[in-house]
Amino acid sequence: MIDPLQYFAPTTLQQASSLLVQWGPRARMLSGGTALLPALERAQWSATAIVNLKTIPGLRELEFDPSDGLHVGALVTLAELQRSPIVRAHYPVLQETIAYVATPQVRNLATLGGNLCVATPTADLAIILLALDARVTVHRVGGKDTLSLDRFYPTWGGTQLAQGEILTGISIPPPRGSARYQRFMVRQAVDVPLVNFAIALEQQEGQISHARIVLGGSGPRPLRMIRAERALLGQLAGRETFARAIDLVIADAYPPDDLRASRAYRHELLRVLLRRTFSTFTTTDRANASF
């Protein structure tokens, strides 16, 4: 049973922001509610005030511009993104990734902004959006600020949001090359992955001109594998280049050693899945991406 609380339905960002400042750390933002309500129910989080962001108009846009990329309002639900013809056409990997998140019922409620603010180290969408160089817009007292998702997530976990600040939108630049998301779970749905990662690669005349490798669950936030990314740049896309990058990922990855799987097992799993995923970048046959 959730403890009694005050409920507010602001209609502007300024109102919401003031309420959050006024009530301090005991206020929680409500968007989809799919993380907030279970956390309150389990008494993992406490709150004396709920500030509903869904009563604020103008945070639901979903627009694509070929030179500018995709703009997604913070309140767009995961189901809306998954069904969007724009997403299917320009960011198919994002659509594939959303299918892994939670359940169909949860995806009908959960919002992209809320999902990113929960900031789970294994979060599917944070991982793929880091690989796609996404940026977020944050409402602050006295204006708004746009920063990379990479900066939005501090190294120690959580987000950069201070009290009263609200994530209002997500921007994804035009796709560079192609990207893959890979995840291994014991159950087929609604499970914490043992290993998950995203890779984005762009090739020009066979040489790798852009690389992103983002690994989940290997620290307090999804991590860019910077050494492996650098090792790929300027190299010919092929088995030897990929093998060097994989060795660097394994060296830098520190997955948990817990009841779900040992660290040694996760390292081995990671190596196999990285090899399979990289191999799909040298062939046009996307079917090889699955296993």
Binding site: L30, T103, P104, Q105
Partner: protein
């Protein structure tokens, strides 16, 4: 703590309910409106037994804060019958023996209702299984539930 008046349309009937701000839609349906067909399982959005349609979309009623449901349209399992008889999907569940203890059944029916409502073409088994990813059943092993939904969708 003050009560909130919210307006809901539940199974086509406009309703005004006074709710505690910390109540969930599940609490409102069961405790305030007496609609016991929506079952409470995990209360944290994992089991799917409280699935209802919110503006036509399947959601976990335990994940919707009651004041946030103001102005919305809700369909529960009690809203599926037509003229006092079970609808085609419900009859398919009966015909295929798609329930044992029955606890998950109303959630299964609501998820299947939303899923079948979105389909224009013949329905494949894999689609049904993916649609049911958020509904746990601990008795049947799902086979007969999937068969019942396939039969209702492809007849």
């Amino acid at each position: 703590m003050p009560l909130f008046d919210i307006h809901l349309t539940v199974n086509n009937i406009p309703t005004k309910v006074a709710v505690r701000p910390q109540a969930t839609l599940l609490d409102v349906l069961r405790d305030a409106l007496g609609l016991m067909g929506t079952h409470e399982g995990c209360r944290v959005g994992e089991c799917g037994s409280c699935t209802v349609l919110l503006d036509g979309k399947a959601v976990n009623a335990c994940l919707v804060l009651a004041p946030d449901a103001d102005g919305r349209t809700i369909t529960t399992v009690e809203g599926l019958e037509q003229d006092g008889t079970l609808n085609a999907l419900q009859q398919s569940f009966v015909k295929h023996g798609a329930l044992q203890c029955g606890y998950c059944t109303s959630g299964m029916l609501m998820t299947a209702t939303a899923f079948l409502g979105e389909q224009n073409n013949a329905v494949a088994e894999m689609q049904v299984r993916e649609a049911l990813a958020g509904n746990l059943c601990r008795c049947t092993g799902y086979t007969k539930i999937v068969k019942a939904i396939l039969a209702a969708g492809n007849e």
